[in-house]
Symmetry: C2
Subunit: 281 residues, 2 copies
């Protein structure tokens, strides 16, 4: 079985980013990361973004608020980031605490700074297949991996397991654009193993450790594992049971080192694209 590692793709995107900052050396694309509270996952993700962006020649600016900040305090910081021409991209760690009016934030957010595709303009643009719409980075990362490894999507059957706004739904639209025949499965799907087993490509995006066993995968299918979970031994693992998948799939993404690696790189590419759009380059 072939391991579909994300590193080579990430390195190529790194090259694109470094080329950009080299070419326009007065311009330093900056991402604002807005975090409310001290959730461990958020802090870990933020740390990995910062480490990567430094390598890629890009800037990250942190904006932190305490978990009990008021909605007004949050919106004020958000407005600053949203309006500041020195910031070209915004990543808001979600979900936000209950007191924050997320809808108000989404309504205001500049779609050109919305690198993770959460505004109406980008959600709708992804459904329409618009070239300049930002898709959620994780969904985009799945397509990048398939493209990079020359795994045919056009005409092929792809089963997406999971129907979230972060992965399943937007990914189904991106895959349609690539001319795949897309099936979306979820917790209410009957005979989910039988349905998934029809697919040439299975994408697991359910957020449950090792849930996708060999029974979900046809012999020689490609498996893309979007999940990042912690198993009973405290180790990182995906939504797929790797030991079983390797016996059936012809190719699969490892966790870690697969989709997650590419997701952060896609975020960096989106920041460069956003900078080009905002500065008309």
């Amino acid at each position: 079985m072939k391991e579909l590692r994300g590193k080579l793709i990430a390195d190529r995107i790194k090259g694109e980013c470094l080329d950009f900052v080299g070419k326009y050396n007065g311009i330093l694309p900056a991402l604002a990361v807005l975090r409310v509270g001290e959730k461990e996952d958020d802090i870990a993700y933020e740390r990995s973004i910062k480490k990567r962006f430094v390598d890629y020649g890009l800037e990250v600016k942190d904006y932190e608020l305490p978990a009990n900040c008021t909605n007004e305090e949050f919106q004020e910081v958000f407005d600053f980031i949203n309006d500041d021409p020195e910031i070209q991209g915004i990543l808001v760690m979600r979900p936000l605490p209950a007191q924050i009016d997320e809808e108000a934030m989404l309504k205001k957010m500049n779609p050109l700074k919305d690198l993770d595709g959460i505004t109406d303009a980008n959600v709708a643009g992804v459904m329409r297949g618009d070239k300049h719409a930002f898709a959620p980075c994780t969904a985009q990362a799945v397509v990048e991996i398939l493209k990079d490894y020359n795994i045919e999507m056009a005409g092929k059957r792809v089963c997406v397991i999971g129907r979230s706004m972060v992965v399943g739904k937007p990914l189904s639209m991106l895959l349609l654009k690539e001319n795949a025949t897309v099936t979306v499965c979820h917790s209410k799907t009957e005979n989910i193993k039988a349905v998934a087993s029809e697919a040439d490509i299975v994408v697991a995006a359910i957020g449950k450790a090792k849930k996708i066993s060999g029974g979900y995968v046809r012999e020689d299918a490609t498996v893309i594992d979007v999940g990042i979970n912690v198993d009973e031994q405290g180790n990182l693992c995906g939504d797929c049971d790797w030991d079983q998948i390797v016996l059936k799939a012809s190719a699969a993404t490892p966790v870690p080192g697969g989709v997650g690696t590419v997701t952060t790189a896609v975020l960096a590419r989106h920041l460069v694209e956003a900078t080009k759009l905002q500065k008309n380059l």
Copy 2:
């Protein structure tokens, strides 16, 4: 085989509309139909809307522009409709001629008046599953028919043939909300007959007369035919070959008298909902 006729559903929606105008008798919900040019299909659709809306106790206001009008003329009329508080719904006959800036129109359009779900806010709202988002009327009509005839969607396999922004894509999102397992097929799908034959429900939305033969349909499946075409004899027909479908399906919508009938009724219901939202009723 059971014919899934739209008339009873349309009559029930008519009842809802008449109840509304009876209850709030100072309020007459008004739909503006904006048409550029004299396309026969547009005029026929407009005529059928008007006839129906009169029956339903609702108003239709016509706004017509010549095919060679300028973009400025168009936008001026559009702005008037969009801003007039006496108009609660807008239906723009599309596609518009090339000289009209459709994107500018979409950006301005009040989502609360956007009864056919073409603005970013409604496209995104439908993907998110928001309760108050307006879906394209045709896509919504498909779901209404399945609900009304108590055809189970939850957990079942639905194959949508067609991936347009008017039917296929938004319908796939509406069906996911109903907990269906959704497959979207299209012109690039390999073995499309085999794929469609797996489904409990097949929705044909490709706009090709009688293209969907019995080979696309599993014994006892339900078939929803969204197409409205003219056959070689000049008669109205759907995307399905009715003579073949009746031999295999357990239930199917006729053309005419099926989805189209419900679509105009859904437009009327959307106008009443839009009126409630705009007048806080």
